[in-house]
Structures are given as structure tokens and as C-alpha cells.
């Protein structure tokens, strides 16, 4: 079964992203929303951690836009209808609250 992991906390000073990357499965996806989109800032440790993995990576468009974070080619920018469809596509959704 596949899992869509959802992160919403900033990766700076918080260990959710690190823990998530440690246990994420090969069929899983990762959606960054809220302050978690700061992980897409090139040259940072979270960005490097993300880029060394062949992850299915998604980002909530409004959160990237609000924070002036550029969405790199390795991530797909999605809106709410696409978020809903992603949660249908994956067997379960694991939000790291």
C-alpha cells in the first residue's frame, strides 16, 4: 500500500522532515504545504536531503506562492482539487501533525 506523507512545519529547527525521509517508502509520495515548502529553498540542508532522494514530491501551490518559494522541476505544484485527487490515488494519507 502507498502512503501520501504531508508535512506542514518548517524543516528548520524541526525533525519531522528528517523522520519522514527516514521512513518514507519507495511507493510513497510527499506533499509539502505551509512552512514545509521552505524545504524547497536551493542550497539548504533540507533541499539537499530532498534532492538526493528519488521522491514523488508535491507542493501546495498557494503556500509556495505566498512565501515566494520557487518550485523546482523535481516537485509538482498542486491546488486543492489535485490534493483531493492525490489523497484518492494514495491508499492512505499520513499528515505529520
Amino acid at each position: 500500500m502507498s502512503t501520501l506523507h504531508v508535512l506542514s512545519h518548517s524543516p528548520f529547527g524541526d525533525d519531522r522532515l528528517t523522520s519522514c525521509l527516514r521512513i518514507i517508502g519507495t511507493d510513497d509520495g510527499l506533499l509539502l504545504c505551509g512552512d514545509a515548502v521552505h524545504a524547497l529553498q536551493p542550497g539548504t540542508a533540507p533541499f539537499n536531503a530532498l534532492s538526493t532522494r528519488a521522491l514523488k514530491l508535491f507542493v501546495l501551490a498557494e503556500d509556495a506562492q505566498a512565501r515566494a518559494v520557487n518550485v523546482p522541476d523535481c516537485a509538482a505544484s498542486i491546488d486543492y482539487p489535485a490534493f483531493v485527487e492525490l489523497s484518492v490515488h494514495y491508499d492512505k494519507v499520513n499528515s505529520w501533525l
Partner: protein, 118 residues
């Protein structure tokens, strides 16, 4: 067949009501005879530290609720070995909790129908 639910508890017992409220979900599920699993991850492993003294903070002791888990039919109890090791924990107040390596945590999440990480 009933759907299985895995609760991943990531909060320390002294950081507010979150750890207790995660445990309450587990106990409620057990009371309804549902297939429930509980994994302690990250700071959640502090819930399993031995020799804690809740009264020092005028709190109720969470460990009594933890000990009640098997009685509520919750026998799927796990602890992330990496999280425990990183925090210097080697003894757990809950004997039934099974230590899991990272890849075993991946497999654990995979095997449950739904998951709540608190």
C-alpha cells in the same frame, strides 16, 4: 473486516495534552475491539522512559494508561529504535513495546489501512 488504524505518537508526555490525547484515541479504539496499533516515534519515546514522576508537575501519570493498553486489547505496540537510541533510552516502561528499525517502521505503516500521526 474492520479497518486497521495506526497511531504514531511523537510528543513527549510533558509537552501538553497531545500525548495523552493520542493515547485516548488508541484506548477508545481498543474499547471498540478495533485493530489498533501504536508506534512511539521521535519525542514520543519519552512516554516510555522509566522512573518518571508526574506529581512533580502536578500532572496525572500517563504510564498507568500505557500499562492498560494490553487490557484494552491493544497489543500492537512499537517503538522506533532510532528515536529511542538518539535520546539515550534503552529501557522502556512498557515491556510489550517492540523495537523497530527504520525500514520496519516503513513496513508497519504500509500494513495499516489508515494512520494518524500526532
Amino acid at each position: 473486516m474492520a479497518k486497521s488504524l495506526l497511531i504514531i505518537s511523537r510528543q513527549s508526555p510533558w509537552s501538553g495534552p497531545s500525548a495523552r490525547e493520542a493515547l485516548d484515541i488508541v484506548l477508545a479504539g481498543g474499547a471498540f475491539d478495533l485493530p489498533i496499533g501504536l508506534l512511539f516515534l521521535d519525542d514520543g519515546v519519552f512516554q516510555l522512559a522509566t522512573g518518571q514522576n508526574a506529581r512533580a508537575l502536578q500532572q496525572k501519570d500517563l504510564s498507568a494508561n500505557l500499562q492498560a493498553l494490553p487490557m484494552f486489547g491493544v497489543e500492537e505496540l512499537f517503538v522506533c529504535a532510532d528515536s529511542a537510541c538518539a535520546r539515550g533510552l534503552s529501557n522502556f516502561a512498557l515491556e510489550e513495546a517492540q523495537g523497530l528499525a527504520a525500514h520496519e517502521v516503513t513496513a508497519l505503516i504500509d500494513r495499516y489501512d489508515q494512520v494518524i500521526t500526532l
